[in-house]
Amino acid sequence: AQRVTQPEKLLSVFKGAPVELKCNYSYSGSPELFWYVQYSRQRLQLLLRHISRESIKGFTADLNKGETSFHLKKPFAQEEDSAMYYCALSGPRPQGAQKLVFGQGTRLTINP
């Protein structure tokens, strides 16, 4: 079964401190992994995807197939990073569309 687990519903860190949002998944195969973010009063938007290997707004995420994890990291948190973060997966191409399976989300709060 496809499943995404985000063990922390809430995470609070101080500005300037490192941030790590945990994501573990179960999937029989090689999924594509994503992080989505929802800022206050805004719509859900893509933050990054593992196949791009990009760093967006200082965030990075490494896919660890051995541990089936895709943790999101940022070395120095900023107040504007406060938001709801969702980890998601989809099946590998070309098997159908990118039907996304989401985790429950982690609400990140950056304290000044």
């Binding site: 719509r43 159908g96 569309a97 990118q98 399976v101």
Partner: protein, 113 residues
């Protein structure tokens, strides 16, 4: 340009009633998705359209739920005989193709009393 839009933004209905939720995707996007987000949960996939056809409706919870996209653009999610458990935010997303980034709408908050 304009993003994905959804109407209404809020819908309150009584148990047993019929509701329709509308999604206007980004112009030119061929793929359209519906998700449902219950309180405290992440979005849950309902159905995916490629053009006019439903390519994957495996997420529809039961036969009270139905969606159409007759002209390959606007989509309508239809819920018959609503139940209190249907209360959630219904999200629509569109993308240029099946493997591209999905762009989400603001959602419709459905409350069934």
């Amino acid at each position: 340009g304009a993003g994905v839009s959804q109407t209404p933004s809020n819908k309150v209905t009584e148990k047993g009633k019929y509701v329709e939720l509308r999604c206007d995707p980004i112009s030119g996007h061929t793929a359209l998705y519906w998700y449902r987000q219950s309180l405290g949960q992440g979005p849950e996939f309902l159905i995916y359209f490629q053009g006019t056809g439903a390519a994957d409706d495996s997420g529809l919870p039961n036969d009270r739920f139905f969606a159409v996209r007759p002209e390959g653009s606007v989509s309508t999610l239809k819920i018959q005989r609503t139940e209190r458990g249907d209360s959630a935010v219904y999200l629509c997303a569109s993308s240029p193709g099946a493997y591209n980034e999905q762009f989400f709408g603001p959602g419709t908050r459905l409350t069934v009393l």
